[in-house]
Symmetry: C2
Subunit: 211 residues, 2 copies
DNA sequence: TCGGTATACATTGCATGCAATGCATGCAGC
DNA sequence: GCTGCATGCATTGCATGCAATGTATACCGA
C-alpha cells in the first residue's frame, strides 16, 4: 500500500519536472519526503527503475531522460505502436464495437488540447495531449499495446520536459488530431494507421532534440 | 545482488516451465528454494510482476500466461515491433553499418534452429528461435525496441509453453527466416518489414491458441 | 446435511538494526 | 603541488521481528 503510494507519488514528481533529468534521490531522502520508512521507498525506487524513469547508481538513483540516439528509437517505437492502435480503433469502429460517446469525448479532448496549447498552458497541454493519444489506444482494445505505450510515454515525457517549448505549429498538430479522429470515425483503418504514424514522427521532427 | 540473482533465477524457472501458468509462489517458499531471506525474494517477485510474468494475489504471486484476447494483442504488438526492427536492420545494412560476421552468425543461428526443430528438440528450438529473432532486433540498433520486445517475448513464451508442440510446418518457418535474412542482407527494408510482420502473424496463426 | 460464524493460521507489509560497500575527504610523502 | 593511501561517512543490501489482513477450516446450530 505505502509502496504503491510511494511509486505513484514519485512517478508524478518526476513526470511534472519536480525531479528533472539527473536529479538524485536516496532512499532516506525520499523516505523523509514521503513520511515512511525506507522499505516501501526502496521498493518504489526499484519499480521506477523497472519503468525506465530512474537508473540505479551505487549511490541513490538518478532520474533519466532519453538522449537523442535512444530518443529517436523511442519515437520510432511509438510511431508503429500508435499506428497499430489507431488502425485497431478504426477497425473496431467499422465493426460497430465503439460507443459513439467515446468518440465524442475524444473530440472534446482534442479541442481542449488545442485550446490549452493556444493559451500557452503548456503543462495542461501536455496532460491533455497525452490523454488524447491514450484515449485512442484505449479504443483499440489492445491492452498490451496500451501498457507498452504507457511506459513509453512516461519515458518520453521525462525526456522532453526540459525543453518545455510550445509546439512549432499548433494548428498543424490540431489538424492532425482531427484527421485522425475522422479516419477512426469512418472506420478507415489504413488511413488511421498512416495519419497516426506520421503525426508521431511529425511531432518529433518539430522538436529540436533529434539526434 | 541477491535480489538480482533471485530475479534472474525465478525468471528462468518460469520461462523453462518449472513454474507453469497458475503456479503459486510465496515469499517464504521462494526464499527457501533460493536460500536467502524474504527481503531480496520479495523484491524479485515485485520485479517479476513488473515484467508481467507473475501477478500478485493477496496470497503469494501466481505465474500468468496471456489468454487469447491478450495473446492476440501481444502478437499484434510483436508483429509491428519486429517489422520495425527488421526494417531498421535492413536500412543499417544498406548504409554499410552492419558487420558481415553478424549476418553470418544469424544464418548459423537460423540453421541451428531449423535443425533443432527437425530433431524434435523443442526446448532447444525455442531458445534458438528466440535468439534468432533477438539477433535481428539487435542488428536494428534500436535499444528501446529491443527492450520492449524482450518483455514481450518473455510473456509470450510463458503463454505458449504449455502447449509445447512442434511447429505445424517447420520448413515454412525456416524458409521465412531465410527470406528475412536475405532481405536484410540486400538492404531491402520494405521487404524485410513485410516478411517479419507476416512471419510473426503466421507463427501465431499456426498455433491453436487464438481467440 | 447445509449454512453461518468464529477462530486460527498462513502470508504479506512495513519498520528497524546491522553489516558491507564504495566514495569523498584529508593527510602524508614524494 | 600532485599523487597515493588511509580513514570516515553516507548509503545501500539484507535479515528479522511484529502487526495487520484475509482466507481456510472447523465447529455449531438449524
Amino acid at each position: 500500500m505505502q509502496t504503491e503510494r510511494a511509486h505513484h507519488r514519485l512517478r508524478e514528481l518526476i513526470l511534472d519536472g519536480t525531479y528533472p533529468h539527473g536529479a538524485r534521490l536516496t532512499e532516506l531522502e525520499a523516505a523523509g519526503v514521503l513520511q515512511m520508512s525506507r522499505t516501501p521507498v526502496r521498493e518504489a525506487l526499484r519499480a521506477l527503475a523497472a519503468d525506465g524513469l530512474v537508473r540505479a547508481t551505487g549511490r541513490g538513483v538518478v532520474v533519466v531522460a532519453l538522449e537523442p540516439p535512444d530518443l529517436d528509437d523511442a519515437y520510432q517505437v511509438r510511431a508503429v505502436l500508435e499506428a497499430l492502435t489507431a488502425r485497431a480503433a478504426a477497425a473496431r469502429q467499422r465493426a460497430g464495437r465503439i460507443a459513439p460517446a467515446d468518440l465524442v469525448a475524444l473530440r472534446e479532448c482534442a479541442a481542449e488540447t488545442a485550446a490549452a496549447t493556444e493559451a500557452g498552458q503548456l503543462q495542461q497541454a501536455i496532460v491533455l495531449n497525452r490523454r488524447f493519444h491514450r484515449g485512442i489506444a484505449e479504443l483499440s482494445g489492445n491492452g498490451i499495446a496500451l501498457r507498452t505505450l504507457d511506459r513509453l510515454w512516461d519515458q518520453i515525457q521525462v525526456s522532453t520536459l526540459r525543453s518545455l517549448s510550445p509546439p512549432a505549429r499548433p494548428a498543424r498538430v490540431s489538424a492532425q488530431h482531427d484527421r485522425l479522429l475522422t479516419a477512426i470515425e469512418q472506420g478507415h483503418d489504413d488511413e488511421a494507421d498512416r495519419i497516426a504514424r506520421e503525426h508521431v514522427l511529425d511531432t518529433y521532427a518539430s522538436t529540436d532534440q533529434k539526434g
